[in-house]
């Protein structure tokens, strides 16, 4: 089984990295870019997934892979 977890900073939370990159792109001659937000993406490969794999992945996403205080995650199972 393969899974992909995307973790993004919550909308209400400052994303200094995104702001710095937006400014850099603007200096790069592309000032139309109004917003950049930067998150993490994790590609996970699982041997012998087992029936409850998805539920357990959600648990790991919430406990380990994202920080629910400042981030939201999306889990996609890719077969």
């Amino acid at each position: 089984m393969k899974a992909r977890v995307t973790v993004m900073p919550k909308k209400s939370v400052l994303d200094p990295q995104g702001v710095a990159v937006r400014d850099a792109i603007a200096h790069h001659g592309f000032p139309q870019i109004s917003m950049v937000r930067i998150g993490k993406v994790m590609e996970i490969e699982i041997d012998e997934a087992g029936p409850d794999a998805e539920a357990r992945l959600h648990e790991i996403c919430a406990d380990l892979l994202s920080n629910p205080v400042i981030e939201d995650y999306v889990l996609q199972i890719e077969g």
Partner: protein
């Protein structure tokens, strides 16, 4: 003889480099702002350590697009002496003035401590006063100093004697145990094929006075001085 220390927003070892060059080695040194575009009249250019542009995205990635970097590239291509320390090394690899890349330390932690370095090639402007195999005690302070390159690049670096310093133990043995960050072949610093551009993660400017724990960084600056005088 004149040196320039480039100041990017977020550089924080600029003053330390300036101090070492000007006060310890008596080289007249200017700060050059990242928005400037000329490096005329300099014999040595230093890209200092720090967190240029907060090290956001990748260390050195955004600094590479500062206006001054065009002049830095021209200067280096014309054979000018250029040294990048820590963040400066990262800027050099991002700019492709040096091959390879610097990624997260194996431990994922920032590491600040004194380290031993084994001198490799000395037939270059940066280590001409050192002995091959000499052991230097110079501190490191980085979170992303794990040097990586593909096999072909590594072979080329070796063949051209471009690996100038490697992490080692106190006796000079280059071993996995002496590798602080996971660097390929314990690489701590390399130069370009033209031997005029040197990038290294350790901070020689922090090892110029006995009262701060080590003077082993001097050999680098004195080598540069000797080279420039000839």
């Amino acid at each position: 003889m004149k040196a320039a220390v480039i100041r990017f927003p977020g550089s924080n070892c600029d003053q330390d480099c300036h101090y070492a060059l000007q006060r310890v080695f008596g080289i007249s040194t200017d700060y050059v702002w990242h928005k400037d575009s000329s490096l005329k009249g300099y014999d040595l250019v230093v890209l200092p350590g720090g967190f240029s542009y907060g090290d956001y995205l990748r260390c050195g990635a955004i600094a590479r697009f500062s206006p001054i970097m065009k002049a830095v590239t021209d200067y280096a291509n014309a054979g000018g002496l250029l040294i990048g320390i820590c963040n400066g090394f990262q800027v050099l690899t991002e700019s492709r003035l040096l091959p390879g890349a610097l990624v997260r330390n194996r431990s994922l932690h920032f590491i600040c401590e004194h380290r031993f370095l084994r001198v490799g090639a000395t037939d270059n402007p940066f280590l001409n006063l050192a002995q091959p195999g000499q052991v230097l005690n110079i501190p490191i302070a980085h979170g992303e100093g794990n040097y990586t390159a593909d096999q072909a690049t590594l072979e080329e670096l070796n063949a051209n004697r471009q690996i100038l310093v490697r992490y080692c133990d106190a006796k000079g043995t280059v071993s996995e145990a002496a590798n602080p960050n996971g660097s390929l072949n314990n690489i701590a610093g390399i130069c370009n094929a033209g031997r005029n551009v040197f990038g290294l993660m350790p901070h020689p400017e922090r090892a110029c006075e006995a009262r701060l724990g080590s003077e082993d960084g001097n050999v680098i600056f004195q080598s540069i001085l000797k080279y420039l005088k000839n």
